[in-house]
């Protein structure tokens, strides 16, 4: 039944002398939601950046739908290579700081890439964009600029923007960390709906409740390696590793 979509094998990432990922293995099946927890500096965000090649790994292999994206034809030049197009058309990403384009309206944020990258017509892109913004509950905000939207609304536009590229995998990098507490729920609800629709998701988060409820697997990272991984209930309620216990103790104390 389980169909692998993403496999990481011994992934290493260095920034100069600093080794941020020290050999990470991870298997993701189609439709799974993987929640990645861990203290800051543990390499969670870097792992996501490796997967969509914003920060290509120096060592190891990443298979996306069976293709080794680190060694695709034309890789190694770093830019405009085959694997970059292959990956970015299949992997969408949502960022902690939203990173909406401030000089574009909500609708323009969503339609720009489909028009410029996929070559869609304006009419086609706008129809899809409207539907997506409708879906994240912002059908009445199409013409507004990001600065006039709340953080939660901006993040939902960012989710719609990523979905417009029809990705097979979505990466969420601490997408609720920059939000005021009362705005967290609307973003998590949007993500929950997305998970229910069968999207494959890698979610770096500090929201333990979300991980427990929506996650198919929880991965705990520390010091650039996966310390513990498994069923959310098992990892969150009965962590085997001491580092996991300590981290969860600190997070759940709040």
């Amino acid at each position: 039944m389980a169909e692998p979509i993403l496999q990481l094998r011994n992934v290493h990432k260095r920034f100069g002398k600093l080794e941020v990922l020290k050999g990470v293995d991870l298997d993701v099946n189609k439709g799974e939601v993987i929640c990645i927890l861990g203290p800051s500096g543990s390499g969670k965000s870097t792992l996501l950046r490796c997967v969509n090649l914003l920060a290509p790994p120096e060592e190891g292999e990443i298979f996306l739908e069976g293709q080794d994206i680190c060694k695709g034809p034309g890789s190694g030049t770093g830019e405009s290579s085959w694997n970059l197009d292959f990956v970015r058309q299949r992997v969408g990403m949502v960022f902690q700081q939203f990173n909406l384009f401030p000089h574009k309206t909500a609708l323009e944020n969503v339609t720009l890439a489909p028009m410029k990258v996929l070559g869609k017509s304006r009419a086609e892109a706008e129809e899809k964009g409207r539907a997506l913004l409708e879906r994240v509950g912002l059908g009445d905000r199409l013409g507004q600029y990001p600065e006039t939207l709340s953080g939660g609304q901006q993040q939902r536009v960012a989710i719609a923007r990523a979905l417009a590229m029809e990705p097979h995998v979505m990466l969420f990098d601490e997408v609720t960390s920059a939000l005021d507490p009362e705005l967290v729920k609307e973003v998590l609800d949007t993500m929950r709906e997305l998970a229910e629709e069968g999207m494959t998701m890698l979610v770096v988060t500090h929201e333990i409740g979300f991980a427990r409820e929506v996650g198919d697997q929880v991965v705990f990272m520390d010091g650039g390696v996966v310390v513990e991984q498994g069923d959310p209930a098992a990892v969150l309620d009965n962590p085997r590793e001491e580092r996991t216990q300590r981290f969860l103790g600190l997070v759940l104390e709040r």
Partner: protein, 247 residues
């Protein structure tokens, strides 16, 4: 004191030569407009080349940085003299380039425009660069994660935001450019300083030069006020924590 006023503010001399100096000043404005349009484009191209990513583009980045450094270091007048005194003799160039007389303007006009373009293109590239670097890094990442190429991201996302962050320094460079158009007087182009100096030599009176200075003031003072206004507006926007809106 009356000697002072007669030397510098002889209204009789000013009145007699007013139209002559004004007409010459219009030549400064023409050089300015032609050079400025080209400088804005050339500076943008240089800034873009300087930002190209990856190892493959390292030679282009290096050459661009070298160009910018060199032309910011050489006096503008030296460049003007090198261009006007050398290009006519480069026989491998077609005659229309060696001795350009486009749009009914004589060749010193175009040597001046070309020299100012070379020098101020380098300055403007640095202005654009400051603007590009002021755009948060996440903007490029977001654009790239959506599948845009580096060039597409620069064109649609980074540069439109970058230019809105640097209108004040951009205007400052434009003001400098206008003043430097007077250097073209060195290669016998009849702009305001050359004409005023001829009047000075003929009448032994500086009032025509004062008239020239006055014309520059009339154009530049409002621009300087505009720079102040833009800086102030930018600051209030920043303290309110929002961006300048372009659209």
């Amino acid at each position: 004191m009356s000697v002072f006023f007669e030397q510098y503010f002889d209204f009789h001399v000013m009145g007699e030569h007013f139209w002559e100096v004004l007409e010459a000043f219009l030549q400064n404005l023409l050089i300015w407009v032609a050079a400025l349009i080209l400088v804005l484009i050339w500076g943008l191209i240089l800034a873009f080349l300087r930002q190209l990513p990856g190892k493959g583009f390292a030679p282009i980045r290096f050459l661009t940085i070298a160009y910018i450094d060199v032309f910011r270091a050489i006096p503008c007048l030296v460049v003007i003299l090198l261009i006007s005194g050398g290009v006519p003799f480069l026989t491998f160039l077609p005659k229309g380039v060696r001795i350009p007389e486009w749009f009914g303007k004589p060749d010193p006009f175009w040597y001046g425009v070309a020299s100012l373009l070379l020098v101020f293109g380098a300055y403007m590239a640095e202005v654009y660069r400051a603007g590009i670097e002021a755009v948060p890094k996440g903007q490029m990442e977001a654009a790239r994660s959506l599948g845009m190429s580096h060039t597409q991201a620069m064109r649609h996302i980074i540069l439109p935001q970058a230019v809105t962050k640097v209108p004040a320094p951009m205007l400052n460079e434009s003001i400098s450019l206008l003043k430097e158009t007077t250097l073209v007087s060195f290669i016998a182009f009849g702009e305001s300083v050359l004409v005023s100096r001829e009047i000075l030599a003929e009448r032994l009176n500086s009032s025509a030069l004062i008239l020239t200075a006055f014309f520059f003031l009339v154009i530049i003072l409002p621009l300087a006020r505009l720079v102040d206004y833009l800086i102030k507006r930018n600051q209030t926007k920043v303290t309110r924590g929002t961006h300048i809106e372009v659209a």
